[in-house]
């Protein structure tokens, strides 16, 4: 009813554009989550431009697919994707974090395209279990997606939701892990180790798929392949700060805001990547 279907090439070009918008929004606001935004951006790009059956026109329809961003702090990337998809004008992002602007630093339902208010970690999965249950009760065909952070998995409520999703055989539910292996104070393995995640989620009764979280084909397949009787847990291996050389894999960019010079350098890198793609 409202599904986009972009080619790999178009997605790749769009990802560069979306990275630009994400960085500009954070720079203008003077706040935001740069590293995680860039690590989950390709996932969001594939979701909204290939997988999710939702559009600005169908957002009010009960039959739409649902996406709840559990790692709510990476909202700037989501805003960039939603604006690009036509849910609201890109110029709205200039008000990010401004007085009386609904574009606050975490998703809220005041913004077109946002399903639930998130930002406190460990909330998205239980909410999505409720949404997926409602879909089953109604014999509806919509699917429910949530995006989790790897640091976020230390919140116990994720595992409560994980038990319930498998118990109720919610094969209309997909949880995507933005597995960038970093969180605010450093490596997740040093802060609170959570591996082996594939074995853990499999033991919880989920279908587990590990993919390169920047590979459009792999993401598309993992996000669309059916899993009869089981919820799907996608371990999307990503690079925090992906796409900007000096931000990649550096924990300080978790919520680092680029200076004017850093923004310039980042945009120049993205321009170069874009030129390379166009000439390919």
């Amino acid at each position: 009813m409202g599904k986009a279907a972009l080619s790999h090439h178009a997605l790749a070009l769009k990802s560069i554009h979306l990275r630009r918008r994400t960085l500009e929004a954070i720079y203008n606001a003077g706040a935001g989550h740069t590293g995680g935004g860039l690590s989950c951006l390709d996932i969001l790009n594939v979701l909204y431009n290939r997988v999710l059956d939702v559009s600005p026109e169908t957002f009010g329809s009960p039959a739409r697919d649902r996406y709840v961003q559990s790692k709510g702090h990476c909202v700037e990337a989501l805003y960039a994707v939603l604006a690009d998809r036509g849910f609201f004008p890109e110029s709205d992002l200039k008000t990010l974090c401004h007085y009386q602007s609904h574009y606050v630093g975490h998703p809220t339902r005041h913004i077109p395209g946002i399903e639930m208010n998130t930002g406190a970690l460990g909330h998205g999965l239980p909410i999505c279990v409720g949404m997926a249950l409602a879909g089953k009760m109604d014999s509806a065909h919509y699917r429910v997606f949530t995006l989790l952070g790897d640091g976020e998995l230390a919140e116990g409520s994720n595992w409560e939701g994980g038990l319930a999703a498998a118990h109720y055989k919610l094969d209309n539910l997909v949880a995507i892990l933005d597995h960038n292996t970093l969180q605010i104070s450093g490596h997740t393995r040093d802060v609170m180790s959570n591996e082996p995640l594939d074995e853990k989620w499999r033991a919880f009764g989920w279908e587990v798929r590990s993919v390169n979280g920047h590979d459009y084909a792999a993401l598309t397949q993992a996000l669309t392949e059916p899993s009869p009787g089981k919820p799907v847990f996608i371990i999307a291996n990503t690079v925090k700060g992906k796409g900007v050389s000096f931000m990649e894999n550096v924990a300080k960019w978790h919520h680092g805001v680029p200076s004017e010079a850093e923004l310039k350098q980042a945009l120049a890198e993205l321009d170069a990547a874009e030129a390379k793609l166009q000439n390919a």
């Binding site: 339902r109 399903e115 909330h123 279990v129 409720g130 949404m131």
Partner: protein, 332 residues
């Protein structure tokens, strides 16, 4: 056979109840469960969500009659509230049912964000609240719930006093398009209202008229205030008794009227004295410049005395005798 729980009412209080024509009904919790089942039979969109609490929530018959309309989440209250919110966001009229002590403490963040901030039309039912689980100890008491929930935006908070108010509260919650919390106890309650009485969210119910002392009470304490009013009337003291089933929105006009027309005001609640009905009434009265002798009867800031609900009530003066004495002291 275990010994029956001590009665909430002394023989003298029982005699007074009979004298003023009160009839003992069932537990408000049972009234809730029966009302919800009746509504759910007519509306397949109504879903009960339980955390291994269908027995304690008196929902076993509901589960038998409507197995497709009950979701069990296991002992996981955070998950209970998140799932209840998700169901509500997808068009279900969901009722999350769990002991008040766990529901409003362990899953407070889910109440705040998933339900209230996201503004989904979910209903949360705190069962066996206050000191209903008396002798089980403080882990099982919810004496903080009104304080923490009052401090969260976008939540209607209902605390019914009798079976009538309980049924009406559930009917109102089922119709609501925004979040509602309803708090229930599990002791059998005397009926306080005529079947044709008018119930409205945000409006206090006058249980008895009088201008000497105003008892402003809520939940399972209202009947004790009414019995005290009966006791005092025999000694020439006429008390007003208001049932504040609606803690939020609060009926400020009724509180102000009571403060202006009566010589003294006593608030009564099964809750800590901090942040509950009493402080809410004090704020209304003070900000309007209404100053009368005023007491908050509730639980002091101390480890709650061990005992059954009846013992605890009596210990802290929530009884016909205790409230009568308090009224006399204030009038002196």
């Amino acid at each position: 056979m275990s010994a029956p729980a001590p009665s909430l009412f002394t023989p003298a209080a029982k005699a007074m109840a009979e004298k003023i024509g009160l009839k003992l009904g069932r537990a408000n919790l049972e009234e809730f469960a029966a009302t919800l089942e009746e509504l759910a039979k007519a509306n397949p969109n109504i879903i009960a969500v339980t955390s291994d609490s269908r027995g304690s929530g008196k929902l076993a018959p509901f589960g038998k009659a409507l197995p497709k309309q009950i979701v069990e989440v296991g002992i996981a209250e955070q998950n209970l509230v998140g799932i209840t919110a998700g169901l509500a966001a997808c068009g279900k009229k969901s009722f999350g049912v769990s002991p008040g002590c766990f529901l409003t403490a362990r899953s407070l963040e889910q109440i705040k964000n998933d339900v209230c901030y996201s503004d989904v039309p979910a209903v949360l039912i705190g069962i066996s609240s206050g000191v209903s689980y008396g002798a089980l100890g403080t882990t099982h008491h919810s004496l903080h719930d009104l304080a923490v929930l009052r401090a969260i935006n976008n939540l209607t908070i209902l605390v019914p006093a009798d079976n009538f108010e309980s049924r009406q509260a559930i009917l109102a919650a089922a119709r609501a398009t925004h979040p509602v919390f309803v708090r229930f106890g599990k002791a059998p309650m005397y009926g306080l209202h005529a079947p044709a009485a008018h119930f409205e969210v945000g409006k206090a119910m006058t249980v008895r008229e009088g201008n000497d002392v105003a008892f402003i009470a809520t939940g399972e304490t209202v009947v004790h205030a009414l019995l005290a009013a009966g006791h005092l009337a025999e000694r020439g003291v006429n008390c007003r008794v208001l049932s504040l089933h609606s803690i939020k929105p609060l009926d400020a006009p009724a509180i102000l009227k009571a403060g202006r027309e009566c010589k003294a005001v006593i608030t009564v609640e099964e809750h800590m004295v901090h942040g509950g009905l009493g402080e809410a009434c004090a704020a209304v009265l003070m900000q309007a410049g209404v100053s009368k002798p005023f007491r908050i009867v509730g639980f002091p800031d101390e480890e709650t005395v061990p005992g059954a609900q009846a013992d605890i009530f009596r210990h802290y003066g929530i009884s016909m005798e205790g409230l009568s004495e308090m009224a006399n002291r204030l009038l002196k």
